[in-house]
């Protein structure tokens, strides 16, 4: 049963490694978006400190969105998706493997880069742990929800923009709790509630979205 899961995971990671320039683009986008904000809102330290959690989270969200359309596109074009759908193993399982590989390649670098960027905004060092934790719990939810959108818009002409329209409203709760975690840690109320809600959301997303995604892929391949 784990065979296809591991096979898909290993293959997608191998592919990401062979095309690693693509992966770096997502990370570079994240860094550049974050660095644009001081130019837009002014370099006043207190203000930057106040908007930092929101800026980092919105940038992470946009970077995730940027890479989502690649999740199934190549496999769709070369027929691999067809073969995967004919696998006797449960579809949701290998979908989960694909999303996991995608997150490791595009989400994890953001989580790792975030504390460094937070320092550019003079975020208190005690809050960096919460920031990393909130991103580590929240960005997989974004990838899981985004996978459903990517499956629904597979092969459509206006796929990229449509994908954004479909998934961005769904990203709002994650953004609220993710950025809120850092904010309330800084505000002194503690981030436990936010992080627990994010963790619960992650479990819920792992339990439900692979099935929605599997159904969407079957529909898209008909």
């Amino acid at each position: 049963m784990l065979g296809p899961f591991l096979a898909v995971l290993q293959r997608d990671l191998t592919l990401a490694w062979r095309g690693r320039a693509d992966v770096l683009v997502t990370l570079a986008f994240f860094v550049i978006v974050v660095c644009l904000f001081p130019f837009g809102v002014g370099a006043e330290t207190n203000q930057l400190r106040a908007i930092a959690p929101g800026v980092l989270w919105v940038a992470a969200l946009l970077s995730t969105l940027l890479s989502l359309h690649r999740l199934f596109a190549q496999d769709h074009a070369d027929g691999t998706l067809e073969q995967l759908l004919l696998s006797p193993e449960p579809t949701a399982l290998w979908v989960l493997a694909k999303v996991l590989a995608h997150w490791i390649v595009t989400g994890l670098p953001l989580v790792i880069a975030a504390p460094g960027l937070a320092l550019l905004f003079d975020v208190e060092q005690g809050a960096l742990g919460v920031l990393v934790l909130s991103l580590a719990l929240g960005s997989p939810i974004l990838a899981l929800l985004g996978a459903v959108g990517a499956a629904l818009t597979l092969g459509l002409r206006s796929g990229g923009v449509l994908l954004a329209l479909l998934v961005l409203p769904l990203f709002v709760p994650v953004l609220i709790f993710g950025a809120g975690a850092v904010d309330s840690h800084l505000g002194g109320t503690g981030a436990t509630a936010h992080l627990l809600l994010l963790g619960g959301g992650l479990l819920g997303a792992i339990a439900m979205t692979p099935f929605a995604c599997a159904a969407a892929l079957r529909i898209a391949m008909e």
């Binding site: 002409r157 409203p169 709002v172 904010d183 969407a216």
Partner: protein
């Protein structure tokens, strides 16, 4: 040994069975056509009555003056926009489970009306907010949720329009409608949470002074008018969807000939 047979079923019994699934829209088409004008007249009557009560009978609010009268449009529109999303998700689920094409068409026929009501409630809300709070927009939990609901509607409409194959667009739309319906409570809850953290209780929309009974009647009439309007336009819209989807069938050709002859 191998045994390959192919048969074309031309005898009546088998054919009628195989056409059973194509039949439902055909049966619904004339029913919708007959009901839609009734609902339209009902909507017009209720709307006139509701607006008359709202604008001329209901007393002036002692705090807000005449401005408050926009709620006779605003509140029913907001209610309706939320109801319609639920009904849409319901038809989407029925379509996915029972595999009935008419339910997908119903979902798609409802979406533009839902989006319209959503937009109307946001617009009238802004017009109401300007004199009442001094600003067109506040990031209040309700307003924000309503805005996100509008985005969900637009996403559904855009997705179903972008997919040319009608079967794929039906099913893909149904999935996004259901995913949205699961997310609506989560969005509402999170937005409320966010709102209490960031804003405190600066503007309270729930503060409703004891409503005069005439106001209640006016609002109720307008809500019913919105329902009747929704029935009427979604029936008309589903009729065009049926004609478009079934344009290659014999009954649609016959129907169109008949309509041309009448015109």
């Amino acid at each position: 040994m191998m045994n390959g047979t192919e048969t074309e079923t031309e005898d009546g019994t088998k054919r009628s069975r195989s056409l059973l699934r194509f039949a439902a829209p055909q049966v619904f088409y004339p029913i919708a056509g007959r009901l839609a004008p009734w609902f339209a007249w009902l909507a017009a009557g209720l709307c006139v009555a509701g607006l008359w009560i709202g604008f001329f009978v209901a007393p002036t609010d002692f705090q807000q003056g005449e401005v408050y009268r926009v709620i006779f449009i605003h509140v029913p529109a907001a209610w309706m926009s939320m109801f319609i999303y639920l009904i849409m998700a319901f038809w989407a689920a029925v379509g996915l489970v029972m595999n009935t094409r008419l339910s997908f068409m119903m979902a798609q026929a409802l979406a533009p009306t839902g989006a319209m009501f959503c937009f109307v409630s946001l617009w009238t809300g802004a017009l109401w907010g300007r004199p009442t709070w001094g600003t067109y927009w506040v990031w209040d939990a309700r307003l924000t949720s309503q805005l996100l609901l509008l985005f969900l509607y637009l996403g559904f409409i855009a997705l179903t329009q972008a997919i040319e194959d009608s079967r794929r667009s039906d099913r893909a739309g149904a999935i996004i409608a259901l995913v949205g319906a699961v997310n609506v409570p989560i969005i509402y809850f999170s937005v409320q949470w966010w709102n209490t953290l960031h804003q405190g209780a600066s503007v309270s929309l729930t503060r409703a002074p004891s409503m005069a009974s005439t106001m209640l009647v006016g609002m109720l009439l307008m809500a019913l008018a919105a329902w009747a309007y929704t029935f009427a336009v979604s029936f008309w819209r589903v009729r065009s969807l049926i004609l478009e989807r079934e344009r290659h069938t014999e009954w649609v050709a016959a129907e169109l000939d008949e309509q041309e002859a009448r015109a």
